[in-house]
C-alpha cells in the first residue's frame, strides 16, 4: 500500500487528540507489517469504502483506554473500563476516522466510514483487510501509546 496514505490518519490523530485534552502528541515508529495485529487489550476496528477501501484498527492497552476515556470525560475517574468508557473510546475512533476521511478527500480519495467495533480481551488477534498494512505508534504522553494499523486494499 501507498505510504502517503498514512499521513491522513496521523494528521487526524494529531489534530483530534489535543481537542480532547492531550496536548503533546508524538509520532513514534512506522512499520510495514504482514501478520495479524495482536490486541494490546482494547482494539477498535473501523471500515471505510468508496474510492479506496480498507480498515483501520486503533490498538491500545486497557490502561491507556481508561486514561483517554477519563480525559475525554473532563477528568472523571474511570476505574473500570465500563460501558461509558467503552463508548467514549468508540466515539473517539469514530472522530479520528471521520477526520482522516476528510484528510483523504483532500488527497482526492472520497471515503465513507462504518460504525466502529470495539473489542476487549486478552491478546486476541485482529486481521485487517490486507495482507500488508502500515502500523504507526502514537505517543499521547506519560508512556501511553496508541497503535494505528491502516490497511488499504
Amino acid at each position: 500500500m501507498d505510504a502517503k496514505l498514512v499521513n491522513p490518519f496521523v494528521d487526524a490523530f494529531t489534530a483530534v487528540m489535543p481537542q480532547i485534552g492531550f496536548q503533546d502528541i508524538k509520532r513514534n515508529k512506522i512499520s510495514v507489517c504482514e501478520h495479524a495485529v495482536t490486541s494490546k487489550g482494547v482494539t477498535v476496528l473501523v471500515g471505510f469504502t468508496k474510492e479506496i477501501k480498507g480498515n483501520v484498527a486503533y490498538n491500545m492497552t486497557e490502561n491507556t483506554a481508561k486514561l483517554i476515556a477519563s480525559t475525554m470525560m473532563m477528568g472523571m475517574p474511570v476505574d473500570q473500563f465500563d460501558d461509558m468508557a467503552q463508548s467514549a473510546i468508540s466515539e473517539l475512533s469514530n472522530m479520528l476516522t471521520a477526520n482522516a476521511a476528510t484528510n483523504l478527500s483532500s488527497l482526492g480519495y472520497n471515503v465513507d466510514i462504518s460504525t466502529p467495533s470495539l473489542s476487549v480481551g486478552d491478546a486476541f488477534k485482529v486481521k485487517v483487510s490486507s495482507e500488508a498494512y502500515l502500523s504507526v505508534e502514537m505517543d499521547v504522553g506519560g508512556g501511553h501509546l496508541v497503535e494505528i494499523d491502516i490497511a488499504v486494499q
Binding site: 476496528l45 471500515g47 480498515n55 460504525t115 467495533s117 485482529v126
Partner: protein
C-alpha cells in the same frame, strides 16, 4: 430555519430541565411539557408537536400506555421513550405500541439530538422497519449461502439483541456498512464450527492451514454480507448501502461492545454448529 416542536413528558422536573438544556440552541424547541399521562394526551391533541419524548413511569400510568393513546390520536406520532430501564420486554412492548426509539437515562446529549434528527427527517424509524428492510435480507442470504457454499441446511432465528456486548470465542468477521444507514454486520462462530465449515467449503481432500481457514471464513462472510447488501439495495431504491472490506477478530473470551447500536441477532443452527450474525445500525437509525 424551521424549528421542530417537542413535547416532553416526564414527571421529574430535573429530567425536564436536563432535556431543555440539551435541546437549547438546536433545531428542536420544547413547545410544552407534561407531568402525567392525562396531561400529555391533552397537550398532544392541542399542540400536535412534531416529536414527543416519553418517560416510562408516570404518576397516572406508564409511558407505553400513554404512547398508545397518543398514537390513537395520530398513528404517525414520533415518540422517543427515555427510561431508566431499557430491557428487552420494554422494547418489545413499546415497539408493538408503535414507539419509534428507545433511549436510556441519563441520556447523552448527542444521542438524543441525533435520534430526534433522524426521526424528524426520516419519519418513523421503528426497529420493526429496520428489521424488515435491513435485517431480514441478511437472514435469507445467510441460509441460502451456507447451502451454496458448503451444502449445509440451517434452521434460522432472528431476534433483537439485548446484550450490551457480543461474546466472541472463535472468530468474528466484521464488515462495515456505509451509506444509509451506517452500521456493521458481524459473522461469528466458534473454533470448531469455523474449522468444519472451512473444510466443507474446499472438500475433505485438501488440508488447510489456520490462515487458510480464517481466509475462507472471511471470504464466506464477505460473500454473504455483500449479497445481503445487494438485496437491500435492490429493494430500497432511493438509498445505497456499501460494504467495507472485512476485519477479522479471533481468539477466546473477547467482548465486543454493542451498546450504541440497534442490533439484531440472526442464528443459523446447522449440523456443523451455530453460525451467528449480528447486524447493527448506529442507534436511532
Amino acid at each position: 430555519m424551521r424549528k421542530y416542536s417537542v413535547l416532553v413528558v416526564d414527571d421529574s422536573k430535573v429530567i425536564r430541565f436536563m432535556i431543555a438544556g440539551i435541546l437549547a440552541g438546536t433545531e428542536f424547541e420544547i413547545c410544552d411539557s407534561a407531568e402525567n399521562s392525562a396531561e400529555a394526551v391533552e397537550k398532544y391533541k392541542l399542540l400536535q408537536p412534531d416529536l414527543v419524548t416519553m418517560d416510562m413511569n408516570l404518576p397516572d400510568g406508564n409511558g407505553i400506555e400513554c404512547s398508545r393513546q397518543i398514537l390513537a390520536i395520530n398513528p404517525k406520532a414520533k415518540i422517543v421513550m427515555i427510561s431508566a430501564m431499557k430491557d428487552a420486554s420494554l422494547i418489545t412492548q413499546g415497539q408493538e405500541a408503535g414507539i419509534s426509539s428507545f433511549l436510556q437515562k441519563p441520556v447523552k446529549a448527542q444521542v438524543l439530538i441525533e435520534t430526534l434528527q433522524l426521526l424528524a427527517k426520516n419519519g418513523k424509524g421503528t426497529p420493526e422497519r429496520v428489521k424488515n428492510a435491513y435485517v431480514k435480507p441478511f437472514m435469507k442470504v445467510l441460509k441460502k449461502n451456507l447451502f451454496t457454499l458448503a451444502g449445509i441446511n440451517s434452521k434460522m432465528s432472528l431476534e433483537v439483541n439485548k446484550a450490551e456486548f457480543l461474546e466472541i470465542d472463535g472468530i468474528a468477521v466484521v464488515i462495515g456498512l456505509t451509506g444509509s444507514p451506517v452500521g456493521r454486520a458481524i459473522l461469528k462462530m466458534d473454533k470448531e464450527t469455523m474449522q468444519k465449515f472451512s473444510q466443507k467449503i474446499v472438500g475433505d481432500q485438501i488440508e488447510l492451514s489456520e490462515d487458510e481457514i480464517i481466509d475462507n471464513i472471511e471470504e464466506a462472510a464477505n460473500i454473504i454480507v455483500g449479497r445481503g447488501v445487494s438485496v437491500i439495495n435492490d429493494s430500497v431504491k432511493d438509498k445505497e448501502m456499501r460494504i467495507t472490506p472485512p476485519g477479522t477478530i479471533y481468539g477466546s473470551n473477547i467482548r465486543m461492545d454493542n451498546s450504541n447500536v440497534l442490533s439484531f441477532n440472526i442464528t443459523a443452527m446447522t449440523d456443523l454448529g451455530e453460525f451467528k450474525m449480528n447486524v447493527g445500525f448506529a442507534e436511532g437509525e
